[in-house]
Symmetry: C2
Subunit: 384 residues, 2 copies
């Protein structure tokens, strides 16, 4: 970052662009950090949300990690920045093991995930060929959301564990309660956290019961991480989106809208007064097409509209998006009045899903409450 | 492009990545080119879809253009590649006029769009300050879809035209039938094309009737461009997504699925046999969250699944997506059987919306029928 990248006020920024409120982010980081300290469990932040070395350094407990990633591109980028304890938390394709091995040879303790005998055997074959173990966690399907061994399928679980063990690559189990995003109350999230914990811990016990070591029991999602009543038997918790939060998390009750640290800065480019529309230069290219709140009790459409300082306009939403153009209007049946926002006015839009919206941008323009301009410019990366 | 970027077979590519079938693309380009030649109207391809100099050179009628863009980043990138006739086809924010002026000073004939007296006056003020005209088209709202002057509002139209005329910046009118994406038949698209044409031409006549010049009458959307019965009075047609086509366009009947030139290459990373699921490494990060077919007669979910050569599997869809993981399954109530696709199998996914899916990638891996590997690697750019 050089002084030349900083702007005296937000009005000097080209729009659309991605703003990051550093104070909110640090508050979010401290909140979950304190919760995990109370539980006495290690936090492994998921870096798929920030995809930024600067954010990673603030969210990790040490410059070396631990952290989780969703792509090998992330693993390689963070490894280059000095992170050495990484979990590649998506089932690994056999064709990607050579890249995993290359990172491990550079001293990065990169762990992979498998959920089938087929994948475990492919890993074992690679290990045999390469002559070096690749530690793996067995993914458990705690909620039917995506991948993983069924927690009740002890036979399959132990068979996979044995293959990994023989390849000196068995490190433990992991699960992710993706269905927690569909919960309707904090109580339901806490129940889901217990379901997630119980599935992972029981599978670890099954593996240990077969005489194998299972040191790692990894669980997590942002909602369950915040409302778990008990993490007994869990060795680490993974969470990603909590670093920025978003409207989906606010709709779930995991945070409030005042905790949302990422927003898109946009400019008013027109009006359709007869329709009550204000046109802005943030379309789906800037926001993403994510509509995660569509299934929640309060649908926030493409996002909640704030003034340039981040103060929310009552009932004002980014209602529709074209590629590079958005339509701002009042929520249906709102009693609020449309604010007078002349051509050129800057606005902030809070996103449905921070992971998706941030991925549309190449950098964060970092802001602080009370500071008129941008205090830092942090680059993001992308790709696979 | 260097030889080192080419791969002998598609199995050598890291996944997910974006494939571009050059033969299909060239066929799509020739089809609309021939239609426009029949009408005797100039085509101004919209480069927001490809965002690639290599594709632009193939889709434009000359290396200098004409072409349309949706961001000033595109204008600057294509200008650097020698394109000199550009329309920035989104209402311009006054704060962006300095970048427009800078491009014009470099010899790029960049035209902007305004749709209000407020915007026209901001442009006129900038022109007066800068001492150089900035040609503008007045946007007309032909279908209530987004921005533009109402075609019946002659008073507003002429008032805007006069402000632009006095600033030596009046070049014409433009409109875009965005609602054509919601048409249910080719007949309805043809009707929408006539509505688009009539709105633009009548507004041009209103301006001319006030004694002002209105040389440009610009219309277009991919559906209306393909089914317009008559383009009398129109001087140019804009279209973008036709260069690649997609499932939304196939659902509209503008193309067939065999015309879709862009697809995402993905790898099988797991199975949930009890659920009939095949897991792949293409999630919403690779596909985008666009679900444009959701409102069509046939919902294609996140995309149609093909084998590595592009042959469609009957009723096999990318049904759900997480960030870096997709769930492939058969369409509900399908009589087809789930193909046996072992771990590591490569597949292609046809996208809902080519503009959105391509925007998730940094390059095209160019393929040709009958050629086993990648014949070229074309970079894309992004940002604003």
């Amino acid at each position: 970052m050089t002084a030349a990248t900083l702007t005296p006020t937000l009005d000097d920024l080209e729009t659309p662009c991605l703003l990051l409120d550093e104070s909110r982010m640090m508050r979010n980081i401290q909140r979950l950090g304190a919760l995990m300290a109370e539980h006495g469990v290690q936090l492994r932040p998921h870096l798929k949300t920030p995809k930024s070395v600067e954010v990673a350094r603030r969210v990790m407990s040490s410059p070396q990690g631990p952290a989780a990633v969703s792509t090998l591109q992330e693993a390689e980028q963070f490894a280059a920045a000095g992170v050495t304890d990484l979990l590649y938390a998506v089932g690994v394709a056999p064709g990607k093991l050579a890249r995993v091995e290359a990172l491990r040879k550079r001293g990065v303790d990169l762990t992979v995930v498998v959920d089938s005998l087929e994948a475990a055997r492919a890993l074992a074959a690679h290990v045999q060929m390469a002559g070096a173990a690749i530690p793996a966690l067995i993914e458990i399907d705690c909620d039917g959301h995506r991948a993983g061994v069924q927690p009740g399928n002890a036979e399959q679980l132990v068979a996979i564990a044995r293959v990994l063990h023989e390849a000196h690559s068995l490190r433990g189990v992991m699960t992710h309660a993706g269905e927690s995003y569909a919960c309707r109350s904090v109580e339901a999230i806490a129940d889901m956290a217990e379901q997630e914990r119980a599935a992972a811990v029981s599978c670890a016990e099954t593996i240990r019961g077969a005489g194998l070591l299972c040191p790692v029991v990894s669980v997590g999602s942002t909602p369950t991480a915040h409302f778990a009543r008990n993490l007994e038997g869990v060795t680490e918790v993974r969470a990603g989106v909590y670093v920025f939060f978003d409207l989906v998390m606010a709709g779930l009750g995991v945070c409030t809208v005042d905790d949302i640290a990422a927003s898109v800065l946009t400019t008013v480019i027109g009006h359709q007064p007869d329709k009550g529309w204000i046109l802005v230069d943030a379309g789906w290219m800037a926001m993403s097409r994510d509509r995660g709140t569509a299934k929640q009790a309060v649908d926030q459409l493409y996002g909640v509209v704030c003034d340039v300082q981040g103060r929310i306009y009552p009932d004002l939403l980014l209602a529709e998006t074209n590629q590079e153009q958005g339509i701002v209007k009042l929520r249906a049946a709102s009693g609020a009045s449309l604010p007078d926002l002349p051509l050129g006015t800057k606005l902030r839009i809070l996103p449905n899903h921070a992971c998706a919206t941030c991925a549309q941008h190449d950098a964060y323009e970092v802001v602080q409450p009370g500071v008129p301009g941008v205090v830092a410019h942090w680059e993001r990366f992308r790709g696979w």
